[in-house]
């Protein structure tokens, strides 16, 4: 009945590795973002602490730990304390189902390179993503500040709206892989990444994740020019660091998920012979995807809140529904008529639909009085 | 005086019996406080002075009457002209009707004059202080406003002055 103790040990070690990797990844993502932003903005970025400023995250952490924590007088103390924790936990446990390799043999046993291989992996991602909103709502409410409140409400409305588009692009990859297991999804991409089959789905997923993790240009909830810092306005010190940590870990995790379900996850040349290459490939993909996020942040202005909501409901949702339908129809027709033509119609038709959506967005922009500019 | 300005000045003289002063091509027309609304309305509607460039006041303390001059600097964009109306106001209980209804910019400018000189603008829609704190005593730009001087604090008189300093102590 009881699994033998080595299995327990293996689980423990793997969980620890993932957690620590995320914590370290968070720290160095802040460094990466600051350096990358600095390069884009013609400045240097942190370069004092250690070589290339590599010790900067540690300095930041020390500073935040020793910083005085303020609790607003009329705040709800209990919820105020728990809100950062509730935000942070989903951002870590969501990483459990991401596979970072197949398996290798060491110490006379086969060690799989994922923490949990559950057959409803994608659903797990969805449900954890949906409870991540609690921390933000609670932080906004418990601070007893109007700015925090507005930020919290904005965040939750935004996350709920974009969850649907996210869910449909998950569904697309589920249909393509014919499984909800993350490992099966990766295996199905051997030879052909899903981003080739369903490029629009990948784009929708990426946009929805930007909204889901409150990144620019969808960083409405913490729009510092409007709401000072949104839901974490009143937080300081380590509690603030937890929110920060949660946000950056979500960035990492969500990039890893995107890499897994659309960009072939840990797949890469030679990964079959050397399974330990898997995590390396995944890391490279994650870093590239993260760079795109940073790049977007450096370039684009923030979209307005009501436009964000209408974009989510009026464009992203129908578009993601359409591509789910196209994918399902394509696979069904290819199966029924036994003709691969229909399968290859999926990317073509979805791209056309995506272009129609882009043209539609372009036409509805309020720019007509300025056509000659 | 600019040729184009002459009919305007004549009209002002005729209608409001105002005296005229000229200095370096600038024309100042004096009108009485009760006439200012009509004068500004006339200038705005008939002579196209669309812009009230400035509204301020001068305090000629110790002189009691008229102690204040309220200055209305008007600009006509259409004709590229300027004219200044000056309203002499008596020293005790200075009161002028508000011109907010003619030029909305006067809202803040009059608040500023009221704040700085203590001139009351009758019928002003928002008679709060604008630059000074709400609980401030006095009107700083008046010539009889006491100027505060602060004695420099050196080592030899540090404690002595520290006692007198008006900051919060434990």
């Amino acid at each position: 009945m009881l699994p033998d103790w080595t299995l327990w040990l293996e689980w423990l070690i793997k969980s620890l590795v993932v957690t620590l990797a995320l914590l370290g990844g968070f720290a160095y993502l802040t460094w990466y973002e600051r350096r990358a932003l600095a390069r884009i903005q013609a400045r240097i970025g942190p370069n004092r602490a250690g070589p290339f400023g590599l010790l900067q995250p540690i300095a930041d952490a020390v500073k935040l730990i020793f910083k005085e924590e303020l609790v607003p007088a009329k705040a709800d103390k209990i919820v105020f304390f728990w809100a950062p924790v509730v935000t942070l936990v989903p951002s870590i446990i969501i990483a459990a189902v991401i596979p970072w390799g197949t398996s290798f043999t060491a110490f006379g046993r086969e060690i799989t390179l994922h923490v949990a291989d559950i057959n409803v992996g994608v659903l797990y991602l969805m449900s954890i993503a949906s409870i991540a909103v609690f921390g933000i709502v609670l932080a906004g409410w418990s601070s007893n500040s109007k700015y925090a409140m507005l930020g919290g409400l904005r965040a939750s409305a935004q996350m709920i709206s974009y969850e649907l588009a996210l869910g449909f692009s998950f569904a697309t990859s589920i249909i393509l892989a014919d499984s909800m297991r993350m490992l099966d999804i990766v295996d199905a991409q051997k030879g052909l990444w899903f981003v080739v089959v369903q490029p629009v789905g990948a784009v929708i997923f990426w946009i929805a994740t930007l909204a889901e993790v409150n990144r620019a240009p969808f960083d409405m909830p913490e729009a510092e020019q409007e709401l000072t810092a949104g839901y974490h306005s009143e937080y300081s010190g380590m509690k603030f660091a937890l929110f920060f940590m949660a946000e950056y870990q979500k960035m990492i995790v969500i990039s890893a998920i995107l890499a897994t379900i659309y960009f072939g996850g840990f797949l890469g040349p030679g990964v079959d012979e050397y399974p330990l290459l898997g995590p390396v490939y995944l890391l490279i993909k994650v870093i590239l995807l993260l760079f795109v996020m940073i790049w977007v942040r450096a370039t684009w202005p923030r979209i307005r809140y009501d436009r964000l909501m209408s974009f989510g409901w009026k464009i992203m949702l129908p578009l993601s529904l359409a591509i789910t339908f196209i994918t399902a129809a394509g696979i069904l027709l290819a199966d029924l008529l036994n003709n691969q033509i229909y399968f290859w119609a999926i990317p073509v038709v979805s791209t056309i639909i995506g272009l129609v959506a882009v043209v539609f967005i372009y036409r509805t922009l309020r720019r007509l009085p300025y056509e000659r500019v | 005086m600019d040729k184009k300005l002459e009919p305007i000045i004549n009209a002002l003289q005729k209608q409001f019996d105002s005296s005229i002063e000229e200095f370096r091509d600038e024309v100042h027309a004096f009108v009485k406080p009760e006439q200012i609304l009509d004068a500004l309305t006339l200038l705005r509607d008939k002579y196209e002075f669309e812009l009230l460039s400035a509204l301020t006041a001068v305090d000629y303390f110790p002189q009691q009457s008229p102690r204040y001059h309220i200055v209305y600097q008007l600009t006509s964009l259409a004709k590229n002209l300027s004219v200044q109306l000056r309203v002499p106001v008596n020293g005790d209980q200075p009161k002028v009707p508000t011109v907010t209804r003619v030029y909305e910019v006067a809202n803040w400018r009059e608040r500023e004059v009221a704040d700085m000189f203590g001139v009351e603008f009758e019928g002003h829609p928002d008679p709060r202080r604008i630059l000074m704190p709400d609980d401030w005593d006095g009107h700083p730009l008046r010539k009889d406003y006491p100027l505060g001087y602060e004695e420099p604090q050196f080592t030899f008189n540090f404690d002595e002055i520290d006692v007198r300093k008006p900051y919060a102590k434990e």
């Binding site: 009945m1 919820v79 659903l123 409870i131 609690f134 909800m180 | -």
Partner: protein, 174 residues
């Protein structure tokens, strides 16, 4: 005492405690949070019973959507606390007594009269036999296709209803 039983008892305690917490919290936000915990615990029961799909749906829909909506409404209305009003002195004991009778009655009826045969599957086994989402989907879309479509219409109607109810501008224009 097997591991399963210990797990069950602990979770059952948590479920009851959070339900009671929901019941007695003064602050509606706390009530909602206790209820969220309760739903998550129930989701874990579903996992133990070999229904991972239902467990995930439970978390996504109940915890992630419904309870967030509740929190939203509580915060928007500022209705965390109600002003105390006079309570009939016999109301609460009576309600508690009635509830106890209900528990006893339900337990008695369910356990003695409608006694189902056998035990629930242990988790390890449930995973293997019951955990077939493909089968679930096939059954849902064949045998239960009509209810499924009716449910979707119901959801649509509810959505329209909610929008009509809260659309203030329209009513003001009228």
């Amino acid at each position: 005492m097997t591991l399963d039983l210990i797990l069950f008892l602990v979770l059952a305690l948590v479920a009851i405690a959070t339900a009671l917490g929901m019941l007695i919290s003064r602050n509606a936000v706390y009530s909602a949070l206790f209820l969220v915990l309760n739903f998550v615990t129930v989701a874990v029961f579903y996992l133990l019973l070999g229904a991972p799909f239902i467990a995930m749906a439970q978390i996504t829909v109940y915890a992630g959507a419904i309870m967030v909506l509740f929190l939203f409404v509580i915060m928007l209305l500022g209705a965390e606390k109600l002003a105390p009003a006079q309570v009939l002195p016999w109301q609460r004991p009576l309600a508690a007594a009635l509830a106890f009778i209900l528990v006893a009655e339900a337990t008695y009826l369910l356990v003695t009269r409608a006694r189902p045969t056998g035990d629930v599957l242990p988790p390890s086994e449930a995973v293997n036999t019951m955990d077939n989402i493909r089968q679930l989907g096939i059954e849902l879309f064949n045998q239960y296709l009509l209810p499924f479509e009716v449910t979707s219409i119901l959801l649509l109607v509810a959505m329209v209803g909610a929008i009509v109810l809260t659309n203030r501008q329209k009513r003001e224009r009228k």
